[in-house]
């Protein structure tokens, strides 16, 4: 871990390396409570990383520390080569933040607002990254062309979310933060939003988002982080996490119209035997691997159940060390 970090830091000037976010042992104490108890993870350029976790796990807190909106209690955080607590406006211009609008800028027209907010980014345009995004192109990219002349207050919930995303990416960010971006979107809008995020990632934008929608996480994420009890309890690709949590698959079938179900660690062999024995009598075959949802729920449960024991161990360890 240390070697890898030293290598990536040595391979180029800060912020030019492959690591866009690096968090080590991030701790957050708030009103006498430990919200984050040592969070560590990193994100590479162009990666879509989804942060999952139950309410109150500290997802928003983590993101706000990375955005530079909140001071941390302890730990090392590097975002685009800088400490967010000391990030200047040049650094800020390289970030995109998708906020959930409520009723702000209600009197502004869509095009007017995007062109206004975009204009702040113009001094930070470079040969490589032309800032801001052309307004009409951006409006088309988020599917708001028909509504460009409407006042923000008259937009529907889904249209507003698209505008939020447009505001987040108007400065052509290298790193985009999205905190529950699809809450309240209908399935169609959600699907379009997923396409938009994938498109950004294809252009090497790094994306860190939180969601409660596990199917969405599975679909979008290159990597999933599960935050529970103030720690990262899992870090990996969706399929990898599912395998790790449970090797068992559920096989369901019907024989002569009667339903059967069996849990097995070797579904392929089980199904072959099933057909050898019963042949054509088998119908409605279904093999179901543990889903991300199963994984997620079991990991969160584990971390919640293990929290007490975990802390006792940590405490004893610290005592022993000192």
């Amino acid at each position: 871990m240390t070697t890898a970090h030293a290598l990536s830091a040595g391979s180029g000037p800060p912020g030019q390396g492959d690591t866009v976010i690096d968090v080590r042992d991030l701790r957050m104490r708030y009103r006498g409570q430990d919200v984050l108890k040592g969070v560590s993870f990193s994100c590479r350029r162009g990666e879509v990383v989804v942060l999952l976790g139950p309410n109150g796990a500290g997802k928003t807190t983590t993101i706000e520390v990375l955005e530079g909106f909140r001071m941390r209690s302890a730990g090392e955080v590097t975002v685009l080569g800088a400490d967010p607590a000391r990030g200047d406006e040049r650094w800020r211009a390289r970030l995109g933040i998708v906020l959930q609008s409520w009723r702000d800028h209600g009197k502004w027209r869509v095009r007017e607002l995007l062109s206004h907010l975009g204009s702040y980014y113009a001094p930070y345009s470079t040969d490589l990254v032309l800032r801001p995004w052309d307004v009409d192109e951006l409006i088309a990219a988020v599917g708001l062309t028909e509504h460009a002349g409407k006042r923000v207050a008259t937009l529907s919930g889904g249209q507003r979310r698209r505008l939020d995303v447009a505001v987040g990416i108007v400065g052509r960010p290298e790193l985009l933060f999205l905190d529950e971006p699809t809450a309240g979107l209908d399935p169609e809008a959600r699907n379009e939003f997923h396409g938009l995020v994938r498109g950004l990632a294809d252009e090497h934008t790094t994306v860190l988002m939180t969601t409660h929608d596990l199917a969405e996480a599975e679909k979008l994420a290159d990597r999933i982080l599960i935050l529970a009890g103030g720690r990262i309890v899992a870090d990996g690709a969706a399929a990898e996490l599912s395998r790790r949590a449970s090797a068992e698959a559920t096989v369901r079938w019907t024989r002569d119209g009667l339903p059967f179900e069996e849990a097995t660690t070797e579904p392929t062999r089980f199904v072959r035997r099933l057909f050898e024995e019963h042949g054509d009598a088998i119908g409605g075959l279904e093999v179901r691997r543990a889903s991300l949802e199963d994984t997620y729920l079991s990991m969160v449960r584990e971390s919640e159940a293990g929290r007490g024991a975990d802390e006792r161990v940590a405490h004893a360890f610290e005592k022993g060390a000192s």
């Binding site: 928003t60 040049r90 702000d104 007017e112 702040y120 001094p123 930070y124």
Partner: protein, 283 residues
């Protein structure tokens, strides 16, 4: 051009855009008209009653006084109200998320509130000047007084409004301030000369900018003889400049650090919490 000045330029355009928006939004226009009606109605009722001790009508005394009050109200209360609302609805957080967005936001707000104040004064003035005699017949010298009183009035009140807007925790709290403000109007010599009040109340009234803005506008818009109704029978321009100047200095000393502290604390979680509370109140 430095990025800060560049953002300030964007802020000026933001202010103009917001002014255009407010004057094309039905609800806002209704507010300006309602304010005009609220000022003009008492004017109509008393317009020709003579003011004791001076050669003008009560209506003539009231019109410029109310314009001064309008300036103070807009500068303090509108600024505070807008800031508190924009903290709650996330406008400020958006400003914080773009480079030098807070600079643009603040400059935009100054342009927007100043423009609103001038229009809120212009409407009752344009109506009132036809209802009462003897207002704004002085010519050039009067205009010269307006040239320094109006900007100084904005400078004295806007930063204080920004401080209040940063300290309160919801726009509703600004509404609660209306009660003490009404009390302040009574002791600021807006609807009758301050010299009618007991001396200690006169002293209290003269601490706040409302009285001095009323006095400044009267000195600009009333005939010279009207000075007889004032404290010490003088327009007291030096004192006006000194008191408004003191409020300006205090505001400009206090506002930047209070605004910075408020901005630093602004986060999505803080905003979500305020919105949750606001929704509870509605639901």
């Amino acid at each position: 051009m430095s990025p800060v000045w560049y953002a300030a330029g964007i802020g000026v355009r933001r202010g103009w855009t917001e002014l255009r928006q407010t004057f094309t939004t039905g609800q806002d226009v209704f507010g300006y008209v309602l304010w005009t009606v609220l000022l003009v109605v008492p004017l109509v009722l008393v317009r020709d009653d003579p003011l004791k001790g001076a050669d003008i009508s009560i209506g003539a005394f009231m019109l410029p006084s109310m314009l001064g009050m309008t300036l103070a109200f807009t500068g303090i209360m509108t600024t505070a109200q807008l800031l508190a609302t924009e903290r709650e609805d996330g406008t400020l957080l958006r400003a914080k998320a773009v480079p030098h967005g807070m600079v643009g936001h603040l400059v935009g707000k100054i342009v927007m509130v100043s423009g609103t104040a001038l229009v809120s004064m212009a409407l009752p003035f344009a109506t009132g000047v036809f209802l009462v005699d003897g207002v704004a017949r002085q010519g050039g010298g009067a205009l010269l007084t307006l040239v320094w009183v109006l900007p100084l009035g904005l400078l004295a009140t806007l930063p204080m409004g920004a401080v209040i807007g940063s300290l309160v925790d919801s726009p509703r709290a600004v509404g609660l301030l209306m009660l003490p403000v009404l009390g302040l109007v009574v002791i600021s010599g807006i609807y009758f000369p301050l010299s009618r009040l007991p001396e200690w109340l006169q002293t209290v009234g003269q601490i706040f900018p409302v009285y001095w803005l009323g006095l400044g506008l009267r000195s600009a818009l009333l005939p010279g003889e009207a000075v007889a109704a004032e404290i010490g029978a003088s327009w007291r321009h030096w004192e006006t400049a000194a008191v408004l100047g003191a409020w300006t200095v205090a505001g400009l000393l206090l506002a930047p650090s209070v605004l910075r502290r408020m901005a630093r604390r602004e986060s999505g979680a803080a905003m979500a919490e305020r919105q949750r509370k606001a929704m509870q109140r509605v639901g």
